[in-house]
Symmetry: D2
Subunit: 480 residues, 4 copies
């Protein structure tokens, strides 16, 4: 019986006895931890949306011969790729944060074509293993996490050049029935909230890095995995009780470090094993999908624009021309991101394996704008919010018999607007520009799916500069 | 027999006895005027491309039941809209300037749905007249110009409020067989190079502006039309002889003021007549198509990026990291424009009339980026060019026996690169950033299809701010 | 005996029985509250610097005939104004936050000339009262807070138009011996850490707003004052114990709302009383000083640049050309801010009253850059930091016997760099870009001393557009 | 008898029999050439200003014991340095172009301290020679040109590595009485309009480059010098007659290539000879002065802001909020440039030689902003101008009996504004953003005094990153 609703999903996470560490202690049951729960709620929204709007959030899979959650769909058409973006924007709008399920979606699609090509070339059977795995995932309606980012140690050195060979995840033993894997994966989005994690190499590998060329699926509750929870700005506001100061009390992102302590993976779950020369290809294909997935941030952008517009109303400032102009600028930036992303999806091409892959150049352009524009939008939102966004008293002060009435008097904005509403809206803006979801809206926008320089390198590779020079020479009257 | 090739097109322009004025004199034959000819060559490229690459530059018209030049196609599918953008980028790459045929393409498509709706509402017969006109245009393979921009007089006043009522084009007489039109249209792209011009209102009209609500097709060679040619930066270099100093000797844009001196138009060529309340709708629909047509500038951008990369090579500077980075930045900006434009086309919807119209919000976003990024790209190209781009001696100095050898010695760049090639590439960059085609690449990018503020107004209308506020309130925990 | 050292200053704050509220409760002794203390440390640094570097942080006062803390100096020369900026940058470097003493410095200097002119005009005695107050402050070496920002209620309405007349601070009673004041002041920097607060009007006032035209000094420990402490991002990390996760454990800013509950002020401490037409003048003069005081943020910028450079080292990435380029860009932006600020100070003019006032146009330009560039610098710092900046585990995880060794292994960066150092540096960057001191470095940079639009209005007033038009007409050959 | 007025200066240029080449021919008398004359007028303004406003444009020289033109003053105080900037801004306002006399001013001041130090170190007598030369220049009131930029050939190679050793200017023979110099200097500002030219090395030199380490003064009319005139955008409009289409008919800049054909220079005019290790020092010191001299562009910026404001008036658009906001933005950018420049001058320090040198870091920051902001200001000016700025008919069309009346009717803007004035203002904006003075306002702003990357290298050198890291470590709690 597959997981169907958000509630069922949450139940599926219980009792797994994960080794999750937070504030120096092992967490008894992550599902019930108030600091972790909002991130689980965000993933649950991906289930509920599939129920509420199946056209948007499910797809018909020819692999399973039935509708599956779109996050588990192997793209069978251009439209499948485009619809991913629409779903992502919608979920960004609904949660105001990272809903953590895109990495897996993009990983299975990248692996779909990469394993196909590996098998074609080497006569291996990675592709059929992957198909079996995906079919199972679709039947169970799993959340699949993709674990790519290694700790990396000294950035100027490759995997096999590090002082400690474990700073990139690697195979430490090959057995007849499978491989033993060791290492760690840093800042893994939604890993604790997943059912399976697919480990993948993080960068171009050389022949010397053969042991690092490993792709494998590991169940999240494998006893060899430990999770050290990442702190976020303002994370402990979830522990304070109340719902106001959190800004967005219901939803948040999640990142943790995964320690992989000599985990055995049977061959059935190994999808690459030593083909170092293919690592760059996999990374490029994954990031092609994933950099365009950052269209999700335009959903968050919609929320932030709405919050900025609402607070301008509440402040009595909505009529000022500079206020209206800043909302237009925010929208322009947000839609510029969306344009490049959805264009990349629309320009998808069929791979040799048969699934559809979006345009790589536009995907990198989309993500590169994501590393810039949300910061500018956050700046504009703080501009429109006014200084209160960073100096508001606490929720308890609002409710205290001594200070509550004073604040009710002095935090009044436009006539007819409740002070609590004004405060809530300011806290939401704080949440997205400085607080917990600023991590997802800003910092993750910067580094997720590759830091800015990674996109510039890809843009350089794909810009076809020789053809452009030829165009210029022709018009300049220079014979070739 | 339709016009087929560029050469045939150029012949079709001869002997029309147009009243074209330039430098205070009437031009005997514009086709043979060295300052005008490059703009004709640019239009001719739209014919030659249709021959060379019919898949790209022609389309199958169900109106004429045969392939027509894509510039004359009524969009019958999303793909038809998308292909317009691909063709536009290609022609931008081939000409490095404005090829002047998009206005007509976008005008007939906007009128297609607007006249359909007018007829539905008022029982008029504008739509069938338009169909007949388009069919004829397809058969003849005409260039259709769209004339929208009125002189406008005092910008703070509407048409009927001006001191001189002719500052917006208007009907001065209604006769049983048609209307008499008076006024002028400013900076009309490619008008002299067209066969027919469709006059349209330039802005939202009020009930008092009824006489200004006129849409009509006029043959370019109508004796009541006069054309006063617009100067461009460095325009007279075409008159100097030589091919170097022009930068792009073959191609340029064209803008002229059209004076409409009481021109009679029969009903068959009138497509709107007094429906003032529809003017805004027409303008919005036309600009929706046309603002996305500015994707053409990414073709020019490709040329400029290529020129910047080539000159860096010639200077021996191509290996510097900041040089490579600036080329990446230029590409990123250029593709960001393209992303929003092609996305707008991909997101086209079928109109009630049956043709396809691209997404208006993304179209405005595309154009708004066009008002910014080419300027930044021009700046970066000048950075990479080095100071010589604005201090090069003249072509005649290069060829003079006295100075030629000195320049051959002292303008040498990287070994193996001819000085003439280096000079030509610099002149091309000058052409696109300061010279003749800077008019098209920069200033027209700013004002064509509406100045920046016009896009901001449209973005404001289409940003759906109430829905965004609702999203924010929901996450902030504010009950509606 | 004046307060001399930081330690003495801290002692001077004890036992004042202030009504400070935080998290719904009255704080017993703010000095000992771990969440408040870092803000007190920052003010203490202004005392210690005066001892350590008297040339920089003291000045010879002709009022008191002896050296005084520079924050209490009435500027007696251009150099006095310039030295303020140098001291501010230094203190920004030393504390990485807002040291809270500038508002008072700028307030007394603005009032110095404003009261002089008021007396000249009205025969009042505000100036001599102010001199007596300043002399006393110099003798005691007080911290003076300036309280300007009213809650403002509906932003589209003036003081006397609000539903509740108390939404701007006002005189509710005039007595023979003084005035009674009621209202509140929002987000008051360092108010709890001050000895005296000078209340001033926040904006241009009309004749109807006469009761709002009040300037008066009130002792911070007046029983009629209450303080409701403002929350900051990550504020409660101070309560967790440990020193790492705070990022900057020693220093922070402070903002609180002051409730003024019918406080009586004797005439000796009243420096304006009803002269509504002078309010705009006072605000403009204060903001002229204060907008240039935001040069302090370049001191924070120095810290952030240093942190970004250090983390690039620790990551082994310092050699990458894009890394070096981003550090240059950060520096360029930081020094651009500094340039306009220090220029404003250098261009000071003597007032009629005899003190020196910096250039108003450049002051607004300085502050306007402060509302933009720190955000961009924060973005670049996060870029250089890498994703870990927002996903690091907690200090307790670092120290836990279970997770500590794992983190020691997997958070290793460049050889020879301690993991703890890498973590500390990342936490400092988090502190300044998302955490507690992001409030001061970003949001306060936006809104302190007036939001961006306020600077634009001032720039518009001071840009002398008629003279510029005249220059243009002359060169265009247009006779006047 | 020194040259006193602009008119006398112009006379001083006559009859020098210079070898000036333009359009492949030798120019008989540059003073009377209509394309060259506007650049001479711009220099003449530096003489007239000294007469009209001696406080601004002259200085008291302790070298000559009398007032001298400020362009010839060795800076004797901080104020002398600051006043240079004020004079430069004023001349930018008066001419709207490059007035060409700063290079010499900055060169003699840089050489003043460099030669002093050379003599201290090597016992040479460069400094006294220089003093004699400067004294003479002051007595005659010469224009001194500084010739620094070599053709450079392949940018990836140094002087002695080029295929042709002459691609950097060098000593080809050392004689008992002086040296023989060969080479060329590219795009030399105002060289033809000067009386003497000081040749200097263009970059850091190695020991192998000894022959390139030459500094010498050469009279402009030396028969061994040839000048090949650089083309500028729209340069030939000066040849058309009329005064409108030129935009700024009176003033322009000038750049030419100087060919140095084995010119002998006696020792008395040699100020460096072989001290290769000092070349970098000289370049750095010269660019320190000269990068801050680009404050002149804020004078041009004032004109452009005024032109944009005026055309908005003429268009009837001055009341629109976005128009006002764009004028504010232009002003903000312009004053940001000014702030860094004037700050650099205010922060001048006394050199060992006794003259005053401005702050190098702020000088580079100033110039770096100059490579960015004028482009953005030009973009905004074109935005405010409207499309007509690039499509206006010619002056002859305005005056023609056929088209003149039509244009008088249809180019009408706001009531009461003459069409000719509107056209003139648009032509001025074209002149500064695309036309002849765009070369000076944009391209020279980019490359003059060193291209952007040169400033970034200097900023990197001067940013004191180790001290900044120390500040960060201290606050992060990292013991050194």
């Amino acid at each position: 019986m597959p997981i169907r609703t958000g509630a069922e999903y949450i139940e599926s996470l219980r009792g797994r006895n994960l080794r999750v560490y937070l504030f120096g202690e092992r967490v008894a049951e992550p599902v019930d931890h108030p600091m972790i729960r909002p991130s689980i709620n965000a993933v649950a929204a991906t289930y509920d949306l599939a129920v509420a709007d199946p056209e948007l959030a499910t797809a018909s899979s020819s692999l399973s011969k039935r509708p599956v959650n779109r996050f588990l769909q192997i793209t069978e058409s251009v439209d499948d790729v485009v619809m991913q973006n629409r779903m992502q924007r919608k979920l960004g709008q609904l949660t105001g944060t990272c809903f953590q399920r895109c990495v897996g979606m993009d990983a299975i699609n990248a692996l779909y074509s990469v394993t196909f090509e590996l098998d074609q070339k080497h006569g291996t059977e990675y592709h059929s293993r992957l198909l079996a795995f995906i079919r199972r995932a679709q039947e169970e309606n799993w959340v699949i996490g993709g674990a790519m980012t290694d700790p990396k140690g000294d950035r100027s050195k490759g995997p096999s050049e590090q002082d400690d060979p474990d700073l990139f995840t690697r195979v430490v033993e090959r057995r007849p029935d499978g491989v033993v894997i060791r290492g760690a994966k840093a800042h893994q989005t939604g890993c604790i909230n997943s059912h399976q994690i697919i480990v993948m190499p993080t960068m171009r590998l050389t022949a010397a890095d053969r042991d690092y060329a490993i792709v494998a699926a590991i169940p999240v509750d494998h006893p060899g995995l430990s999770y050290i929870y990442g702190r976020q700005s303002c994370d402990t506001r979830s522990l304070e009780g109340g719902t106001i100061d959190q800004g967005n009390a219901q939803f948040s992102g999640q990142e943790a470090m995964i320690i992989i302590d000599d985990v055995f993976v049977p061959w059935s779950h190994v999808f690459m094993n030593g083909e170092a020369e293919t690592a760059a290809n996999l990374v490029e294909r994954f990031t092609t999908y994933h950099r365009r997935s950052y269209v999700c941030k335009t959903g968050l952008g919609d929320v932030l624009i709405g919050a900025a517009a609402a607070i301008a109303d509440y402040n009595g400032a909505a009529g000022a021309s500079h206020v209206k102009d800043k909302l237009v600028e925010m929208t322009h930036l947000n839609e510029t991101i969306y344009g490049a992303g959805i264009a990349s999806s629309h320009e998808s091409k069929r791979t040799a394996a048969g699934n559809y892959e979006n345009d790589p150049l536009l995907a990198n352009v989309c993500k590169h704008n994501v590393t810039r524009f949300p910061y500018e939008m956050a700046r504009l939102a703080q501009d429109l919010a006014g200084g209160l966004v960073a100096t508001l008293p606490s929720e308890r002060d609002l409710n205290s018999p001594e200070t509550g009435p004073l604040l009710a008097k002095y935090l009044k904005g436009k006539s007819g607007v409740k002070v609590e509403h004004r405060v809530r809206m300011l806290r939401l803006i704080e949440n997205m520009t400085l607080g917990r979801n600023a991590v997802g809206y800003l910092t993750e926008s910067m580094h997720g799916a590759g830091s800015p320089q990674a996109q510039r390198i890809q843009i350089q590779r794909q810009m076809n500069v020789e053809e452009k020079k030829r165009l210029a020479r022709r018009l300049a009257g220079i014979e070739d």
